[in-house]
Amino acid sequence: MDFVKLFELVVAASLINNFVFTRFLGLCIFFGVSRKMETAVGMSITFTAVMVVSAALSWVVYEKIMIPLDLTFLKIIIFIGIVAAFVQSADTIMKKVSPALYYKLGVYLALITTNCIILAVPLINAGEKYNFFESLAFGLGSGLGFALALVIMASIRERLEVADVPAPFRGLPISFIIAGLIALAFTGFSGLITL
């Protein structure tokens, strides 16, 4: 196991190829839950956890079941199935085992299935032929990158509540423009690590 490679993958997935700011995935959730810091943090934790587990699950299914059986052309259907099934079961288990945690984070779980990142990570893992630990690292990095983006955005939008924004730009349009400015800053990370 090459720890340097794994570390590079985490950094690359979270900063250089940040899903929100350079790959533009998961925007619906990104704009949806970044209004308050509290929801942003809740979403970040839930999302990173789900991301890592579903990257691991789909790697196992892809390498051990789909490739031997020559089913790779079904990867879209199977990956979305895995993610949906995992989220659903996590929801049920959490409700029984830890109602307090479920009360806090359960609502985000339901939202996660509509997040494109959750599907993109297994697809990219399969496309790049990452091994098991690389897939885990990529999932973790993607989750952390999304969390970082959410927290930055939420802290700006909380301040925006008291700002005097022109009427047509209130709400989403101004958030888009802010995201554009953050994305510009993230361009500065490009070339930090070459994989």
Partner: protein, 209 residues
């Protein structure tokens, strides 16, 4: 037991303008930025979404009496994923160059909220013909939005349209960078809100987020 009471034309128009996926509803935003750095990519994804949206609406509407409400979510997902796989394979075979750039986003259509939402809200409760027009309208609305955004981005960012260059001098590079996508969508959304407020007395798009 149909709840729709609009003509087919009204359904089409509703999807194109009233409930335009990107500018009014503000869902399925990822591709509106990811693939709009060129007109060609924007149109390719717009057409794919239009196809999937229409076919999903027809299929769900045709099966609406057989789908048990409790398991409708996975069933809808499977229907959508099936059509996405079809378009994914078609693109990979017949449009190699475009597919290399936007292939990932084609596969991501599965997770689009807009397609799922129309199946749930409209197609599962209405007959096939209205569902067809609803899906087509939504698809056209999405395609129009993609065309508008990518038109501005390609023109300003590269000085080209459909890969044909006709503006000399230094283009505004930022427009084809990731940041430019956010700026373009933000400004266009603001513009449409302004039109809505100024001329139609609306309150601007509420949006999902």
């Amino acid at each position: 037991m149909s709840i729709h009471h609009k003509s087919n034309w009204e359904l089409l128009k509703n999807g194109m303008f009233g409930e335009n996926t990107i500018f009014r509803m503000a869902i399925s935003l990822c591709p509106s930025i990811a693939v709009t750095n060129g007109l060609k990519n924007g149109v390719a994804l717009g057409v794919s979404v239009m196809f999937v949206q229409t076919m999903v609406n027809i299929t769900v509407s045709a099966m609406r009496k057989f789908i048990h409400p409790k398991i409708r979510i996975p069933i809808f997902m499977l229907v959508i994923a099936g059509y996405v796989t079809i378009i994914d394979m078609l693109m990979a075979t017949y449009a190699r160059a475009v597919y290399r750039e936007i292939g990932l986003y084609i596969q991501i259509i599965v997770a689009f909220a807009s397609i799922f939402a129309r199946a749930e809200v409209f197609a599962s409760k209405n007959k096939i013909i209205p569902s067809f027009f609803d899906g087509l309208g939504m698809g056209i609305g999405f395609l129009l939005a993609m065309i508008v955004i990518s038109f501005f981005r390609e023109l300003l960012g590269k000085g080209e349209l459909w890969g044909i260059s006709f503006v000399s001098g230094n283009p505004l590079l930022i427009m084809i960078l990731p940041a430019g996508g956010f700026l373009a969508v933000g400004l266009l959304m603001g513009f449409f809100n302004w039109v809505d407020i100024k001329f139609y007395g609306g309150k601007g798009a509420s949006g999902a987020g």
